[in-house]
Amino acid sequence: MKLFDFWGGVHPAGQKHLSADQPIRIMPPPARLHIPLQQHTGLPALAVVKVGDSVLKGQLLAQGQGAVSASVHAPTSGVITAIGDFTAPHVSGLPLPTVTLDSDGEDRWLEREPLPDPFALEPEQVAAQIAEAGIVGMGGANFPAALKLNKARQAKVHTLAVNGAECEPYMTCDDRLMRERAAGIVDGVRLMLYALQAPQAVIAIEDNKPEAIASMSAACHGDPQIRVVVVPSRYPAGSAKQLIQLLTGLETPAGGRGTDTGILVHNVGTAYAVHRALRQAHPLISRIVTITGGAVAEPQNLEAPIGALVEDLLAFCGGVTGEVAKLLMGGPMMGQPLPTWQTPMVKGTNGILALTAAEAQLTTPSPCIRCGRCVEVCPMGLMPLEMSKRARCDDLDGALDFGLIDCISCGSCAYACPSHIPLVQYFEYARGVLEARERAEQKSKETRRLLDQRQARLARAEQAKAEAAARRQAEKRQAKAAKAGAAA
């Protein structure tokens, strides 16, 4: 198949050798799990269990609420010991509502009914089952998968692009999944195609994963609907916008959706989760994570229960050796720095990275020499140096004028900058200020609306009073006139 190209991009050192040859090991549930109720874009799920309840593995813990949300299930059997705020996997370290589950060590499944053949159901019903299983985009987007499928079906998408590019350095979870569980992924792809009512799927894999390419090609051999496409290893080939450009030469319109190009992008992990949910009634309660980095004693790929703490995951991999300079959730290009070891992994966690000081390359920034590297590597066609210059002096409108909202935070610019300027950090800062500004505007608008309402109410009351008074006057006059008439 003819490939196109995306703009810019960088070639960070892969470092995948640390964990790429480690088969997926299943990690038994630790004694205590912390399961955040918001592991997805949208509203947090609403807890349907109470403290003290005993739950079985796979049992619903919290129901998705509202249009955009996702349900959360128990990753093992045990007792709910707390429902409250707990550190969330986010740099802010701000807590999120979280269910704490103490394992009873039995890992007993909920009684499951035999499943109907998904292909005998309506596409909407298949999507509904995907929603019930609490599946979200597992490549890090965290958007509820069923919702994305329904919208794409309505948009008449013609191709499902299954993202197995895994362009983040160090990360090998998708690679291992494709090597070891290719049949499950391909089955999940067929199920998603059915839910989408789309005619074909392409599975995009970077050319640095020959084993995954071989096993996926074998798994979809003979299926005319699905084929494997080998894409060049260049970061960020796995970003949805860039993958679409790579496959079709089309660009997602600014402010539009990927489906405007006729393509829906889903991660291989999501496809596998769909297969498990629809074939084995296995809701999304575990996932493959890569535990790696120079500071990890035995880098590995684990199938770990959602809600396991980072310290449990690291302990299962032999702990850390030496000083950890940076602890990340995700890869080095887009991963979130973690404030503590006591952070739970969630549905969108593809890896935990413990970097040594040498790997973390902590450097001091120097002035911009206007070399243009950042412009050259930006896959979105932006001028990062100009944006950061404006963001730094709080000229938000200037930063917006240079395309701040089009930035996908891929980090290519900051990776390439010879002056080591933390460009993305300035963009995040500017976005934060912008959001605050919008919220403030929203608030003042709301206040104004309430004020107007109050004034209108007061005015109405005044008017009603005046009318009532006028009515009374009129009645009095009438009565007087009547009296006078009677007297006459």
Partner: protein, 364 residues
């Protein structure tokens, strides 16, 4: 545990400002060494004077401004400015030309603007222009090759005397560069077919066996260094290619119109500081545009100005003027010639998907 929490990315390309400056220094080294051999000890003294002045001025300005001296001094930018200034000066220029030039480049050309990355003009080119305007005699005293250790080359002490005391027999050794010669002769209404024979030998010009600035004579070495910088991705192709092509096209066009009045492209490309300018001065990151389109326009502008100044201007050589003039246009170019943003039109509007969606792989 001492965890660092700045945002992504958490890895970095193995690159830095000192590394870039170092690579440029390496790239200009062959042409510089060739110039040192060609023009002997006085050239070496001049190079040392400019480099030392640049480093001293940089250190002095940094400490006066209260900025950290060591990291900025070691980033290599002042050293590079010193070398680039020396290679663009007449090789036997007196010491005070080098010292003034170094002072001018670093203090007026760079630190007054706020130091590395902030300057509008390429410091070395700005200094060269200022010197040429202020000291036209010293700045146009050219001499033919006096290779080191040859019979007519000055020894070490004579060389020092030349730099610090002046050239003893100026008229005896000096001569015009080919561009200067062409210009004077054209002024006397001679035609090129009379002027060039015996004076312009393309072979010698390519090899660099001619008179000229310290490091600009060996076009092939400048080309080699520039090509290496391209290969190492220190510079991009847009500026040099646009600049050289523009000069070649203009020279070719006018030469076709009137071969007796306008020199051919080979003479233009192989003389003066054009190669050095195209690869080492116009590509200075700080003072050239940052976008590919901007760089094309900038390069073409430099090329056009070089040709115009050489052909109709008041000076036989125009590379320094051209670069400095285009430097002044850089902010404007960067403001108006931005790349197209993904998913947007050139005007910045959302860009609808034009073709009806087809299946990937199907022919359209």
């Amino acid at each position: 545990m001492n965890l660092h929490l700045p945002s992504a990315p958490h890895t970095h390309a193995p690159d830095s400002v000192p590394r870039i400056m170092g690579l440029v220094l390496l790239a200009v080294a062959p042409a510089t060494l060739y110039g040192l051999i060609l023009f002997g000890w006085p050239a070496l003294s001049l190079l040392l004077v400019t480099v030392l002045t640049c480093l001293l001025c940089e250190a002095a300005c940094l400490s006066i401004a209260g900025r950290p001296v060591k990291p900025f001094l070691w980033d290599g930018s002042a050293l590079l400015t010193g070398v680039l200034l020396a290679v663009s000066l007449p090789p036997w220029a007196p010491w005070w030309i080098g010292a003034l030039g170094g002072f001018f480049a670093i203090v007026i050309g760079k630190q007054v603007f706020g130091g590395v990355g902030q300057n509008l003009f390429n410091p070395a080119m700005l200094a060269r222009v200022a010197l040429l305007v202020s000291f036209p005699v010293e700045m146009t005293t050219w001499l033919g090759p006096h290779p080191l250790f040859s019979s007519h080359a000055p020894g070490l002490f004579d060389g020092l005397a030349i730099t610090f005391n002046g050239i003893p027999d100026v008229d005896g050794v000096s001569g015009a560069t080919i561009l200067g010669h062409v210009r004077t002769q054209l002024g006397m209404n001679h035609s090129l077919s009379q002027i060039l024979p015996g004076h312009f030998q393309p072979g010698a010009a390519v090899l660099g066996w001619t008179g000229g600035s310290l490091g600009e004579t060996a076009e092939w070495l400048a080309l080699l260094g520039g090509g290496w910088l391209l290969w190492r991705r220190v510079i991009t192709w847009q500026i040099p290619v646009a600049m050289l092509t523009t000069v070649a096209l203009l020279a070719g066009g006018f030469h076709l119109l009137n071969p007796d009045r306008f020199a051919d492209p080979a003479l233009h490309l192989l003389s003066g500081g054009l190669m050095l300018g195209a690869f080492f001065f116009a590509t200075d990151p700080v003072t050239s545009p940052t976008t590919p389109i901007g760089q094309l326009v900038f390069g073409a502008g430099c090329g056009a100005l070089v040709y115009i100044i050489r052909t109709w201007g008041g000076y036989p050589e125009g590379v320094a003027f051209a670069v400095v003039l285009m430097n002044a246009a850089t902010p404007l170019i960067d403001h108006y010639l931005r790349p197209r943003i993904y998913g947007r039109t050139w005007g910045g509007q959302s860009r609808p998907v034009k073709r009806p969606p087809t299946r990937p792989g199907e022919s359209q």
